[in-house]
C-alpha cells in the first residue's frame, strides 16, 4: 500500500461518507453542549469537497489536501471551517509536492495539522476540543512511524485508534474553549463534537488504505 493521490482522494471520499452517515450523531453531540450545527456544517463542507475533487482532480496528495482546505474554509463556517481548513492546509504544506507519503512524512503532516489547529483556535490539551483527538493521534503516529519497519497502514491505524480514544476521553472534561465553555461544569458528561468528527476523519484514512 502506498499513500498516493488515489489514496488521498479515497480518504476524502470516505470522510465525506462518514460525515453524511454520522451527521445526526454529530448534531446531537453539538445539541448537548453547543448549538446543533456541527454535523450539518461538516456534511455540507465535505460534500463540497467531493464536488471540487471531481471538478479539478488533484495530481498529488498535497494538492488534494490543499483543495480540501480551501473548500472547508469557504463552505463550513463556524469554528470548524477555519480550524479544519487550517489543519488540511498545514498538512498539505508539510507534504509538499511528493507523489507518495512515507510513514514519517505522514506523522509529520499530522503534527503540522495539529499545530495549525492549536495556533488558530488557541486551545490546549484538556480543553475539550478537537485538539484532544489530534494530539494523541500525532503521538501515536510518531511512535508507530519511528519503529524500524513501520508500514503506512500501521501508522494510520495507530493515529485513528488514538484519536478515537482521545475523543472518548473528552466525555468527562469541562470545556474551556469554544461554545461549550459557556456551560462550565455542565459541559462534563458529553463528548466534544469536534473531537468526534476528527476521529471519524482519521478513521476514514485507514479505510482508504485498507
Amino acid at each position: 500500500m502506498v499513500l498516493d493521490v488515489n489514496w488521498a482522494v479515497k480518504w476524502l471520499t470516505l470522510s465525506a461518507q462518514a460525515m453524511a452517515e454520522h451527521r445526526v450523531e454529530l448534531i446531537e453531540l453539538d445539541r448537548a453542549i453547543g448549538d446543533s450545527d456541527h454535523g450539518e456544517n461538516m456534511d455540507r463542507g465535505f460534500q463540497a469537497v467531493l464536488d471540487k475533487l471531481a471538478e479539478a482532480p488533484p495530481q498529488t496528495p498535497g494538492a488534494a489536501l490543499k483543495l480540501t482546505a480551501m473548500t472547508l474554509m469557504s463552505k463550513v463556517g463556524g469554528a470548524a471551517g477555519p480550524l479544519y481548513g487550517t489543519a488540511f492546509l498545514r498538512a498539505a504544506t508539510s507534504l509538499g509536492d511528493s507523489a507518495e507519503i512515507e510513514p514519517e512524512a505522514w506523522a509529520t503532516a499530522l503534527a503540522a495539522a495539529r499545530d495549525g489547529i492549536v495556533a488558530r483556535g488557541k486551545a490546549e490539551s484538556g480543553d475539550k476540543t478537537m485538539v484532544d483527538a489530534w494530539t494523541p493521534a500525532v503521538e501515536a503516529a510518531r511512535k508507530a512511524a519511528a519503529a524500524g519497519d513501520a508500514d503506512v497502514l500501521t501508522v494510520l491505524v495507530a493515529a485513528a485508534e488514538a484519536a478515537e480514544a482521545g475523543a472518548v476521553a473528552t466525555d468527562p472534561m469541562v470545556a474551556r474553549k469554544g461554545r461549550a465553555s459557556y456551560l462550565g461544569e455542565r459541559s462534563a458528561g458529553h463528548r466534544d463534537p469536534g473531537a468526534a468528527s476528527s476521529a471519524l476523519i482519521l478513521r476514514a484514512a485507514v479505510g482508504a488504505a485498507a
Binding site: R31, D35, D37, G77, A79, G81, R176
Partner: protein, 333 residues
C-alpha cells in the same frame, strides 16, 4: 417541529431573497456568496461598516443595513458564522477608500472567519479595523472560556458606530466609537423556552415547563444555570443586578435601556420587563435617557429576553439620535 419553511437547507437563501424583495430601495442582495449591501454602497468618502454572523438572529444583521448604520451584512447558515469567501467580497463592495470596520460578536467561529477575511482584505489593500463585541455578563469566568459573548450590545454598537461613520469620522475614529460603546454596555439574557434549529429538528436544549435558563446566549445554547420560573419583576431583577454591578452604575449616570426579545416573547411582556428595569435604575439614581424595546437580536422562536444597559455621554447620545434608515430601525429620516 412546525416551521414556515420549504426546505431546512434553503432557509437562509430563501429568507434573504425575500428580504431583498421587501426592501429594494434600501439594500442589494448578492447571491453565491451571499451578502447584503446598502443600496448606495460604497458611499463616497465614508468608512464602510460590515457585520455578520449566523442567521437566526433577525433582524440582526441585514435589518440594520442602510443609512446611518451598516453598509453590509453577511449571513451565515443558521447559528453558524459566515465564511471568508462571503465576508471578503462584502468588505470590498463597501470600501470607498476610507477603510472598513468589521463589527464581530465574540464567538470562536465569527472571530476566526472575520480574522481570515480581514487578512485577505488587507492583502488587497483595504484597511480593516475590527470591533469585537463582548457585552454578555453571563460569562463569569472569561479566563476559562472563549470569553464574554457578543449579544444585545451589538445592536447599539452598530447604530452608534454607524452614525459616526455617516457623519464622516475616519477609520480609527469609527472603530474607537464602536469600542467605546462596547466598553460601556453590558447585557444578560434569559430563556423561557429553547429554540429549534431548522436542520436539527429538535429543540436546542430541554427546559421543563416550570424552569427558566439564566444567562443564555443567542444561539439556543444553554446558559449558566437554570432556576424555577419566577414572575417578570423577579427575573428582571436577576438579569439587571449583574449588569449594573459589572458596569458600576452609580447615582447620576445617564443610560440607554434596551430590552430585547429573543423572538418568541410578545412585546407586551417586554414592556413589563422594561417597566421594572426603569424602577430598578431609578432606585440607583440613574436616569434612563434613551430606550429601545423590541425583537432586535433574536434566537429564532426562543421565548425570553435580554436586558442591555449602555452608559451614555453626550456624544454617544447624539450619535444614537442621529438619523437612521434601515429595515428594522428608522428615525430622523
Amino acid at each position: 417541529m412546525k416551521k414556515l419553511i420549504n426546505d431546512p437547507r434553503a432557509v437562509v437563501d430563501e429568507s434573504v431573497e425575500g428580504f431583498g424583495l421587501a426592501h429594494p430601495h434600501l439594500v442589494t442582495v448578492s447571491a453565491d456568496p451571499t451578502y447584503i449591501t446598502r443600496k448606495d454602497a460604497p458611499v463616497s468618502g465614508k468608512v464602510g461598516l460590515v457585520s455578520g454572523g449566523g442567521s437566526g438572529h433577525e433582524p440582526l444583521h441585514a435589518g440594520f443595513v442602510g443609512q446611518g448604520m451598516l453598509d453590509a451584512a453577511v449571513p451565515g447558515a443558521v447559528f453558524t458564522s459566515p465564511t471568508p469567501d462571503q465576508i471578503l467580497p462584502a468588505t470590498l463592495a463597501v470600501n470607498s477608500g476610507a477603510g472598513v470596520v468589521h463589527i464581530v460578536k465574540n464567538y470562536t467561529g465569527d472571530v476566526l472567519n472575520f480574522e481570515t477575511a480581514a487578512e485577505l482584505a488587507e492583502a488587497e489593500g483595504v484597511s480593516v479595523r475590527t470591533v469585537l463585541v463582548n457585552d454578555d455578563v453571563a460569562v463569569e469566568d472569561s479566563l476559562y472560556t472563549a470569553g464574554r459573548r457578543g449579544v444585545g450590545g451589538t445592536v447599539l454598537v452598530e447604530k452608534i458606530a454607524g452614525a459616526a461613520a455617516e457623519r464622516g469620522d475616519d477609520l480609527e475614529a469609527v472603530a474607537a466609537v464602536g469600542e467605546r460603546v462596547n466598553a460601556n454596555v453590558r447585557t444578560m439574557g434569559v430563556a423561557l423556552s429553547a429554540c429549534t434549529v431548522p436542520h436539527a429538528g429538535s429543540p436546542s436544549f430541554d427546559l421543563a415547563e416550570d424552569e427558566i435558563e439564566i444567562g443564555i446566549g443567542i444561539h439556543g445554547e444553554p446558559g449558566r444555570h437554570r432556576i424555577p420560573m419566577e414572575n417578570a419583576d423577579g427575573i428582571t431583577d436577576r438579569l439587571l443586578e449583574p449588569v449594573l454591578a459589572d458596569l458600576g452604575i452609580a447615582s447620576g449616570d445617564k443610560v440607554l435601556l434596551f430590552v430585547n426579545g429573543m423572538g418568541g416573547t410578545p412585546l407586551s411582556e417586554l414592556y413589563i420587563v422594561y417597566r421594572r428595569a426603569v424602577q430598578v435604575l431609578a432606585g440607583r439614581g440613574a436616569t434612563v435617557e434613551r430606550s429601545l424595546v423590541g425583537n432586535y437580536i433574536t434566537a429564532l422562536e426562543m421565548q425570553g429576553c435580554s436586558i442591555s444597559v449602555l452608559r451614555l455621554d453626550d456624544e454617544l447620545t447624539e450619535l444614537w439620535d442621529a438619523p437612521v434608515h434601515t429595515a428594522a430601525l428608522r428615525w430622523g429620516v
